[in-house]
Symmetry: C2
Subunit: 233 residues, 2 copies
Amino acid sequence: MSAEKNLTGVRSRPRRTDEGKDKATARDELRKAILAGEYMPGERLVEAQLIERFGVSRFNIRLALQDLSGEGLVEIQRNRGAQVRKISLAETIEITQVRMVLEGLVAAQAAERVTEDRASELDEIGLLMRRAVESGEFRRYSDLNVRLHALIRTIAGHATADRLIDTLRAQLARHQFMLSLLPGRPLVSLPQHERIIAAIRDHDPKAAEEAMRDHIASVIEVLRSLEEPGMIQ
Amino acid sequence: MSAEKNLTGVRSRPRRTDEGKDKATARDELRKAILAGEYMPGERLVEAQLIERFGVSRFNIRLALQDLSGEGLVEIQRNRGAQVRKISLAETIEITQVRMVLEGLVAAQAAERVTEDRASELDEIGLLMRRAVESGEFRRYSDLNVRLHALIRTIAGHATADRLIDTLRAQLARHQFMLSLLPGRPLVSLPQHERIIAAIRDHDPKAAEEAMRDHIASVIEVLRSLEEPGMIQ
DNA sequence: CCGTCCCTGATTGTTGACAACAGCAGTCGA
DNA sequence: TCGACTGCTGTTGTCAACAATCAGGGACGG
């Protein structure tokens, strides 16, 4: 009921004006739990257990599960209940490809709409990122990374793309955080981020889109490199 | 229960293995009805009426409405029920922008994966399109347009992008068909289509993406030109 | 010993009744 | 005449009991 802290980076979406209190809280908390890894992929989500955990009626639990199924986080099989959806590496790549073009679009629009104030904020984040990398604070770098992408989306103000990106990012949440902690990864991505910032502050949509796409394309390359050795389930 | 005919072009998505029989039929039929214009934007969708029309229990009607709300076709307000969502011109533009980048991605992947057989199919459609335009059969041209885009998506086999494109196209269904009937429109889009086909058959992903994006960008231009005069609500 | 069948407990799907709410019309007071 | 208030009606939100279904184990026959 109190203002949620939104720790995961996935917005708790006020979206529709009002859509059912208990259902919404159950949905948001369950999503948070899944993203936090409390329920592993493939794990069954038994309604009775969720009722106990969230203190919400079965009716609302079911609605919440339906919603999360729509978001692609859980899979519902008739008469067999819900389970956390497993996402294959191939699908991870597909999703990231889609994210690539969407965030590219957003970056381009951000470059068109950016103001001086916002540009300064971008620069600020860029500076902090560089410092974080230089001092080896990778966790902090990862947080700044989230902030940067979020700010770009705010500047762009593209509601439609925003919604989709949220949904896609949630699906990848588990794989996602591993990447930024890969050894050497920040050294690759820092200049990419700086290029994105520069392009946006220069009001150059095309360059911004290209920079953003290159950035995410390099993520896809990393994913592809994981494809051959059966590293992940 | 029998094999659905899928008349609307929006796939009736077998997606999840099994997700509730009545709910699914109610959802698909209601979507079809909305897309066919039987319910106008802003019109209330009263559960009791839907029950009578589709002969499905209220429970499943509600689930269906929830689903369609997730797809953006319907808007649900607490205690006030569901209504067909109104989509502003600005939002139409946003949605089309997203479609632009997604279909661009799909076109690129199609160029990578196309086989000789598929390329022939593309050429065939291209030829028919040209003939249709030359003989002024605009309705036929519009149908071929749908077929072309569908075939490209089949060739690409990008499930994630596919799903999203379906959803987005459904949201625009009402505005969409008007465009291809605009005077002079086919003369502009025919060469664009031919360029897309050529790029895919040449296995040139970059060119294919660019051609597809230019094509849809020109649609966006048309939409923008409608923005100033208050032609559409 | 093995495979099949059936039975049982656990879990989900569905229904109908009831409660809560928004919108509206008609009433009362100024 | 106008405004606010109040009850009514239509509609949606919620629940708890019941029905259907699935997964697993034990008994039976071969």
